[in-house]
């Protein structure tokens, strides 16, 4: 019981530290997504959107909202964990955690919860911004929406953690977000339905994991999707389980953390 309480206190300490970290630098962490997404809504939603017409039977700006929220959640949950965990490695303050009695799983959960908190908070901010441009927006399935929001934030926080474990320089933490995540997100149905693509590109798009995340979230918010929801949810949960195991294994072996 005593040990359990100690672990709980240490976990809460780490989560509080992680949340304080991104709130302290809110101008760098919370404001940019709100500004960027406002520009997307102005340009693609209000200016170009009416010329595009409808997508899957919805106003274009309405169709875009879930995609842009997901894009923000993915990039911010990933960025939070990769930069925070790499920073503690770089500054050697990871030793503060390693010398303490905290179990590896608590260290992992602490960092992931930091990423999830930022991802979900940004998701809420972008949703609030979207209401300025499309005030009549209503969420079709709140339970599915919230579930996918959290699952996505967890999934990409875990990916950020693995990136940080293997990173040896600040370049290493920007390569994957720039050259892998961003292209996959843009091509993952944020701005369009894959039903408008030719068959070849449609089939290629089906191999993009972002498509499943974005479309499952769109199903929750708008009730439309290009993919099977049970399949997409199963895959998200499967990858969360796989990545969690991989993170715990890497922490146990001391890869990137212990000599």
């Amino acid at each position: 019981m005593k040990r359990r309480n100690e672990i709980l206190v240490s976990l809460i300490t780490l989560i509080r530290k992680e949340i304080k970290r991104f709130l302290r630098i809110w101008v760098q962490t919370l404001v940019p997504p709100a500004v960027t997404m406002s520009l997307y809504f102005v340009i693609f939603g209000s200016l170009i959107g009416p010329r595009i017409g409808t997508m899957d039977g919805l106003d274009y700006i309405q169709f875009m909202i879930p995609g842009l929220i997901m894009m923000s959640v993915i990039t911010n949950s990933y960025a939070n964990v990769v930069s925070s965990f790499y920073s503690v490695k770089f500054q050697k303050s990871i030793e503060e955690l390693l010398v303490s009695p905290m179990p590896n799983w608590a260290i992992l959960v602490g960092f992931i919860m930091g990423g999830v908190s930022r991802g979900v908070l940004i998701g809420c901010i972008v949703f609030c911004v979207s209401l300025f441009f499309y005030p009549s927006f209503t969420i079709v399935n709140p339970l599915l929406t919230i579930s996918v929001l959290f699952l996505t934030a967890i999934l990409f926080s875990l990916m950020g953690f693995i990136n940080a474990i293997f990173a040896d320089s600040f370049d290493d933490i920007s390569i994957i977000p720039t050259f892998v995540l961003t292209p996959l997100i843009y091509l993952g149905g944020v701005f369009y339905s894959i039903n408008i693509l030719p068959d070849l590109w449609r089939n290629i798009s089906m191999a993009n994991p972002m498509l499943y995340v974005v479309n499952t979230f769109r199903e929750g918010m708008l009730g439309v999707s290009d993919v099977s929801i049970p399949f997409a949810l199963s895959m998200i949960i499967f990858f969360i389980a796989g990545l969690t195991s991989a993170c715990l294994f890497l922490l146990h072996r001391g890869v990137g953390t212990r000599q």
Partner: protein, 307 residues
């Protein structure tokens, strides 16, 4: 409970680069001891400390902290251990008070208690006035104190300090010595690595010397120093000399016209030297060690090990 604070058995470490850092070290440190772990750069001191603190993964061997096998219950062992690393290992952009309070939280100390403990510890180390400053604004000496504050926040029974006074001015170093003596007197076992051998001689009761990943000495400080065959002394005399006085069986050289450098063997009487100098009309006004005695012994041992 064991009488040993630390027991290391056949500890080995080979890094991924195939560098063999430890070749099978056996070491015991008694509870309440003030123990020096010495060795030249790259000897294996930091690897040993890293393994004890779980910052380095061992290749083989056993480590027990107060009889708790780290392979079986590392969490419990870590609770008894405080480590002051060689390099600064806190977030420079955080406030002093936050760094220490957070460290307490990592040890499972609830926020309310950790705030109180932090206040006591920071006051004890003269850091309370700087509690709201970012760590990066602290001087080197205060950063060292902050490292010690972090290591002591959970009141460990065994404190390991890896070169704690490196780069610290002499005044602050002496203050830290007094502080370490005080917590050792209160019952905390201390293991110290240092390059300042005077520090080890002043503070430590027992000593081990590591070189090339092997333990080449493990004994009491008193015993080690008693093995010195020859000691060098500098004698300040009351008149100028052009050449050193000739006294049978004593090797004397001139450091400068008013300072003699004398090598005295263990079996020689220093009184006899003074008598002889007096007979020559030379009076000694003061006397000091030529250099640190332990340093001489240390260099000698490492040289022997090399050959």
């Amino acid at each position: 409970m064991s009488q040993f604070a630390l027991e290391i058995t056949d500890l080995k470490k080979t890094y991924d680069s195939d560098v063999v850092a430890l070749k099978g070290i056996n070491l015991s440190v008694k509870e309440g001891d003030f123990f020096a772990l010495l060795g030249p750069n790259g000897a294996g001191k930091s690897s040993t400390i890293g393994i004890i603190a779980s910052l380095v993964t061992k290749s083989a061997g056993k480590v027990k902290i107060f009889d708790i096998d780290t392979d079986e219950n590392f969490a419990e062992a870590k609770r008894l251990l405080g480590v002051v690393s060689q390099e600064i290992n806190f977030n420079n952009f955080e406030k002093v008070i936050d760094i220490v309070t957070t460290q307490a939280g990592f040890y499972g100390i609830p926020l309310k208690d950790s705030k109180l403990k932090t206040e006591i510890t920071l006051k004890r180390l003269g850091l309370w006035e700087k509690r709201n400053e970012q760590a990066r604004t602290l001087s080197g000496g205060f950063k060292r104190r902050l490292m010690i504050a972090k290591a002591l926040i959970h009141e460990p029974k065994l404190l390991i300090l890896d070169e704690p006074t490196a780069g610290v001015d002499i005044e602050l170093r002496r203050e830290m010595w007094e502080f370490l003596k005080e917590i050792n007197a209160q019952g905390t076992t201390i293991i110290l690595t240092t390059h300042y051998l005077e520090e080890a001689e002043q503070l430590c009761k027992n000593i081990a010397i590591i070189d090339h990943g092997e333990l080449i000495e493990n004994t009491s400080m008193k015993d080690l120093l008693s093995r010195l065959d020859v000691q060098g002394f500098l004698l300040d005399i009351d008149r100028s000399l052009d050449q050193p006085p000739s006294i049978p069986n004593f090797q004397i050289t001139l450091e400068d016209p008013t300072t003699l450098n004398v090598a005295i063997k263990k079996d020689q009487s220093i009184n006899h030297l003074f008598d002889q100098l007096s007979a020559l009309g030379i009076n000694v006004s003061s006397m000091r060690n030529e250099s640190n005695r332990l340093e001489e012994m240390f260099i000698e041992m490492v040289k022997k090990n090399l050959t």
